[in-house]
Amino acid sequence: MKQKKSVKSLISEYFIFVIFIALVIVLTCLKPSFIQPSNLVNILKQASINGILSFGMMFVIIAGGFDMSVGSTVAFTGIVAALLGQGQYPLIVPLVIAMLAGLAVGVINGVGVSIGDLPPFIMTLGTMTAVRGLALLLCNGKPVTGISQEYRAVAAQSFFGVPMLAVFLVIVIAICSFVLAKTVYGRRVYACGGNLQAARVSGINTTLIRISTFSIAGLLAGLCGFLMTSRVTIGQPTAAESYEMDAITACVVGGVSMSGGVGKPWGVVVGCLLITVIANGLDIMGVSSHWQKIVKGAIIVLAVLIDVKGKRKKD
């Protein structure tokens, strides 16, 4: 009986991975060009920005929060980076300033949620709107053109055949996984999301932990803004519309529980790849974008369903 249970829980834990592999196989059979190296590179590129964003989101959700503002933050920091990346400064300047700008948005979110005691949804909905406005204001609503060749090259170049964007993603994954699994801080992030009250009475500074998770999300959104501008070669105030939804989807599909306290980095990686592969695969097959939406929606619901069923207390 015990054996049976563990097999069952194993399947539910790795279910999303199984779906992912199945999807890859199906797509390969339907359209062999899917598995070509050039397309795999595409998938990596396409997954990178959402992937980095999802990892920031993962911290917030595991700590029991929610961040609607990351998409707007990407656009805002993308504009900042585009304005500074015209060749007038070394590239590190737009990178650092964009990340700091993202961090600032994150800190505001964190303070509003954990000190102001606002529901995360409301707080970040507010910053989502305001930061989008800030992005538009900064460039007067027009796309910012004229970024330097050097800056464009960041997203365009490859590193031993691996697109640079993916290299950034891998670095972020490595750091985030390490922090969550090995550090005291990571452990406390889980504790805060698992049971905020318990974490507080256990002597954890929950206020600081929660602020920090929003800050990480903001910081990584800033990095995404920098990369996004490099990838599309312009700073667009309207960019990254609803990217927060994609990031949340990647997290939820990857097994991060919306109620907090649960989530594994590898799950988010798979979740993010899954979303990208769906979009890429359906694009390749020439399926209309309307269908893509339906498939994406179905997968979210399915994933959460499994999450809920798997979590139900053994009775």
Binding site: R188, V201, K313
Partner: protein, 497 residues
């Protein structure tokens, strides 16, 4: 130094309420000091001030180890050597045992969490406690009692000088209580002081050295337990004499009105249990936590799938697919955890009472607020529910009164068979007595009552017959004239089967 902890002249005012009014507490090193009082007496508030969760009003002082003491957060309290096991247990369900034990004070190696050392240390502590769980198991997969023990292990391992235990035995079995007491004695032998909050009289007298009593935010008095008896203590707590802790009203016992035959649950937590209840009878179900008592009644009530079993209500076979099938036949189940399955805590008393029997409160198919209000008022009076009005939010009532609201909700539906799962858990003496009296009145009216309880004295005091369960089986049945604590314990631990 006589006292390890001295709290003098402490007051705490919440908006509109004076929760503590110049109270005091003195605790000696190495003693188990009981805090007694009805719910709302101010015990928890006093302890929360000590833990830095609440800030006391101006004036008064706290001395710890002879020095002035101040804590503005639980962390500061713990750093100074004060730890607390909370009544509302807050384990982090999705974390493992070892992670829970070390949350907030993780063991480190090279700046990183030393998981290996934590697991080893947790293993040692668990073994010492006589618990059989893996340190890597998630708390979600443990029983309530096991979670509670983990919480206790956590507090013990803090190496605190004062450990506050707020209702530590509320969810654990007598065997586990004994283990816990063993730990408490070991701690006190090392000079640790334990502040013990409980409503269970027997525990107070068996483990505590001294007791301080509070009532309505006032300090009433202290004394050595060996110089006191139960009646004295109750009088101090409630401010009047309660002569009979377990009042038993005489009722006429009639025919069988409810029968369950060979109940087997699909998940095998109940393995073929049969029983019957008669009109006018109070049947107790005893046993250890995890014996399958709640599982049995929840199975009967259609909350879980049965693989076998027949249910007869008033002689009629009833097919139960969901709770509403059996509610229709006049059976009510008052569940164990009133906060999770029994109440809408943010709703009013009226709304909660109206929840089950809503069909009786309709006019022309619509919910009639006035009908609900008058029905609820009737039960507020009948059950002696202490609430300012029927519009009060249930979450603001004391545990005992919440429990009465749950019972009122079901009584309004006028059931003939009432099943109660741990109806007196976590409520104070006065409210317990009200509930015993209510059960007596119900059987006098010709209803049948089934009561699950982990407190053997309570079962023996209230029931006409006790059936005892062990590991999903029925291990025996005892009639009122054969009641002895020993006999019930033996059946519960399945020494004779």
């Amino acid at each position: 130094m006589e006292y390890i902890l001295e709290m003098k002249d402490i007051s705490k005012t919440f908006p509109g309420v004076k929760a503590l009014d110049h109270v005091q507490l003195q605790v000696r090193p190495g003693e188990v000091h009981a805090l007694m009082g009805e719910n709302g007496a101010g015990k928890s508030t006093l302890m929360k001030i000590l833990m830095g969760i609440y800030t006391k009003d101006e004036g008064g002082e706290i001395l710890f180890d002879g020095k002035p003491y101040r804590a503005s957060s639980p962390k500061e309290a713990m750093d100074q050597g004060v730890a607390m096991i909370h009544q509302e247990l807050n384990p982090i369900l999705d974390m493992t045992v070892f992670e829970n034990i070390f949350v907030g004070r993780e063991l480190k190696k090279n700046g990183l969490v030393d998981t290996k050392a934590e697991i080893q240390e947790a293993q040692r502590l668990i073994a010492e406690c006589g618990l059989h769980v893996s340190p890597k198991e998630r708390l979600r997969n443990l029983t309530v009692a096991q979670c509670q023990l983990i919480e206790i292990i956590k507090a013990i391992s803090l190496n605190a000088k004062v450990i506050i235990m707020d209702e530590p035995t509320a969810a654990i079995t007598d065997r586990e209580v004994e283990l816990l007491f063993g730990h408490i004695r070991r701690l006190t032998a090392q000079g640790v002081a334990v502040i013990y909050i409980s409503h269970r009289m027997d525990e107070i007298f068996s483990i505590c050295d001294r007791v301080s009593v509070y009532r309505d935010g006032q300090y009433i008095g202290s004394g050595d337990t060996k110089d006191m008896d139960e009646a004295q203590l109750i009088k101090m707590m409630v401010g009047r004499e309660i002569t009979d802790v377990f009042p038993k009203l005489e009722a006429e016992i009639g025919d069988v009105v409810f029968e369950a035959k060979n109940i087997v649950r699909e998940d095998n937590k109940v393995k073929g249990v049969s029983f019957a209840v008669r009109k006018g009878e109070i049947l107790g179900i005893g046993g250890l936590v995890g014996a399958g008592r709640s599982e049995l009644v929840e199975g009967i009530f259609g909350m879980h799938k049965l693989s076998e079993g027949e249910i007869f209500v008033k002689g009629k076979r009833v097919q139960v697919h969901s709770p509403k099938d059996i509610i229709k036949e006049g059976v009510a189940l008052i569940t164990e955890d009133r906060k999770v399955t029994g109440l809408n805590l943010s709703g009013s008393v009226n709304d909660n009472i109206a929840m089950v029997a809503i069909e009786k409160l309709l006019t022309g198919g619509l919910y009639n607020k006035n009908k609900a209000r008058s029905a609820s008022q009737e039960y507020i009076e009948k059950l002696n529910i202490k609430t300012p009005s029927g519009d009060q939010i249930v979450g603001n009532l004391s545990g005992g009164n919440q429990q009465k609201v749950v019972i009122a909700k079901w009584l309004l539906n006028d059931p003939d068979i009432i099943i109660l799962d741990e109806p007196t858990r976590g409520i104070d003496v006065g409210a317990k007595r009200d509930i015993y009296l209510l059960l007596g009145k119900l059987v006098q009216q010709g209803k049948a009552v089934v009561m699950i309880s982990s407190e053997i004295p309570e079962l023996m005091g209230v029931c006409d017959r006790i059936m005892v369960m062990c590991e999903g089986n029925l291990s025996g049945e005892v009639a009122r004239d054969e009641f002895t604590q020993e006999r019930i314990m033996t059946l519960a631990s399945a020494i004779e089967v």
